[in-house]
Symmetry: C2
Subunit: 344 residues, 2 copies
């Protein structure tokens, strides 16, 4: 069975923010699966901020840069259409770190999980029950370790990870101060997700102004900070970090499209006097906790204690637009692309 | 019994590096000790980098700024000359966080410890067996947690804290890369303290050059970094920090005399991809471990496994010079001032 895939390539390595013409769709006939491989049709694909890092050719990171000679790649939920792997049968739904940015994929299903479309909507395996959910849960449970009554600040709070962080923090008894980029997002955070304070960061010109707001709403200092944004947010938090405070460094999306790196915060030295911790992490550090995560998160989602929102884009060709929306603040909650209908 | 004390005051809050005339000695008649107080003659006093922070009037920190109306203060080893406290008798030697920057002191001996001049030279209770020793030990045992074969980088390595860090790291089986500010210091670090590599940081113009040296000598990356200096040292380390690396943020002496704060490192984001930790601390966070520290460190010092060097200044009037020497790199090991002979 030969399949023609549509695959998205980078046309060049972008400097600064990528543009729509940084991407191109190409067609390619896929080989049939070899022993140990599967062929899938992609149903949902994910765009995530970390992918921007892979678009820099010279950065040494935990995953290699994308090649211009191969399609982009990323997380996807797919359905098996041919299998030469004993664990996967035709019709199975799978979630994996490969298969995104295209509509068909053939390869070894390393780190793939089978998922049940009856248990939760398939797209949630890319969001609240997937990598962003594990990221939020692990940052809280493994790094921030809030105790009841702690004040937690969350930047990028309306994003795929941040919105889950806010809700877990509330379930753990924290006072939650959330930062997002529009009034509409702030309203959603307050009214739907139950955060105590939602700040529209566009109202604050610099870290001094944001510091004032944090000091006002967190008079005992910030015990926990879940960092998705960097820049002004980090500097303001370091001004008001509580003694023994913890910072989970998950992302710095404000920096990803800088052609030249920005300097770090002027007040990093505050970590010393406050005896505070800053721990960087990527979700794969905590892959071994995926089952523990799932067993805590799935019931919360099922009971409506953790809500989620998706910004859905239709069709593979919309993937670049969805990706660029991560940096312009277009998306609320998890951005996903419906590449094909769940069932054929 | 009335005692006239000589006490050192700040003449003004310094901007940038203090000057000799930032300090003045004044005489004052001390009141006799009240109930619960002791009077002491100061034998040894300490100058430490953290004191620079207390010379800024507006900085919120873990200890309040020095007042211009009162003498400076700090760690000292003293001998009791009058006591109205049940735990202290005339003739006892004590080490405490008060009594420095003067030759006599009267007050409540809070957090004072009695020390035995027969067990170790009195000045060591200000150094290897005192606050700098506990700082080094706690940063390693509580934050860096090296495992055998780890590469540890130590900045300010010839200083009071750094020189002890280097030796504990060797005892724990690390490869130690040390940075100091002169060839003479580097030679001492190599020949006497047994570090594997000693770098004279004045040979490196910027973080790029220092990064190259660290990559050459620590080809598997830096697992542990004991930070005393800040600036270029931190930025270079973040370029080569190993996956899962730990940074103990103890001091940033390169920043203390800046009238304007310097920006933080441009590559803080590396903490994310490397899953690395940065933990700030001050020694008082670990005061509860003082006995555990002492029981491990005293035998090491007794057996010559941890060596120490002191830069000794004679006479109270030399205290400002000793203090300024902390920032110019004049001192090797612990800087102490012999205010009076051990025995009268």
């Amino acid at each position: 069975m030969a399949v023609t895939a549509r695959e998205i390539y980078l046309t060049r390595y972008p400097e600064g923010l990528p543009a729509p013409d940084s991407f191109v769709v190409k067609k390619r006939e896929l080989p049939p699966p070899q022993e140990g491989e599967i062929a899938v049709r992609v149903v949902w694909m994910s765009v995530d901020p970390y992918m921007r890092g892979r678009m820099n050719p010279n950065v040494k990171s935990y995953i290699p840069p994308f090649s211009l000679e191969e399609p982009l790649d990323g997380g996807a939920v797919s359905q098996v259409i041919a299998s030469r792997h004993k664990d996967f049968a035709i019709g199975d739904y799978v979630v994996g770190f490969n298969g995104g940015w295209r509509d068909h994929w053939v390869g070894k299903p390393e780190m793939f999980q089978k998922v049940d479309p009856a248990m939760a909507p398939l797209s949630t395996y890319l969001g609240v029950l997937g990598m962003p959910g594990l990221t939020a849960w692990a940052g809280i449970s493994q790094i921030l370790k809030p105790v009841e009554g702690d004040t937690m600040f969350v930047s990028g709070a309306a994003g795929a990870v941040g919105s889950i962080v806010c809700q877990i923090a509330k379930l753990k008894g924290c006072k939650v101060i959330a930062s997002a980029g529009s009034e509409e997002k702030c309203q959603w955070l307050r009214d739907e997700l139950g955060v105590d304070i939602a700040l529209n960061y566009r109202d604050y010109k610099n870290s001094t102004e944001l510091t004032k707001a944090l000091a006002e709403h967190g008079p005992k200092g910030i015990n926990c900070y879940f960092e998705n944004v960097g820049g002004m947010h980090l500097e303001a938090t370091l001004n008001v970090i509580a003694f023994g405070g913890r910072i989970a460094l998950c992302g710095m999306i404000s920096q990803y499209n800088n052609a030249k790196p920005e300097p770090g915060p002027y007040n990093l030295i505050n970590l010393i006097g406050r005896g505070a911790l800053m721990q960087g992490f990527i979700v794969s550090n905590y892959a071994h906790l995926a089952l523990e995560f799932f067993s805590e998160m799935a019931p919360w989602v099922g009971a409506g204690k953790v809500k989620f929102r998706e910004t859905v884009y239709d069709g593979l060709e919309a993937a670049p637009k969805a990706f660029l929306g991560l940096f312009s603040g277009e998306n609320t909650g998890k951005a996903v692309i419906r590449v094909a209908p769940d069932k054929v």
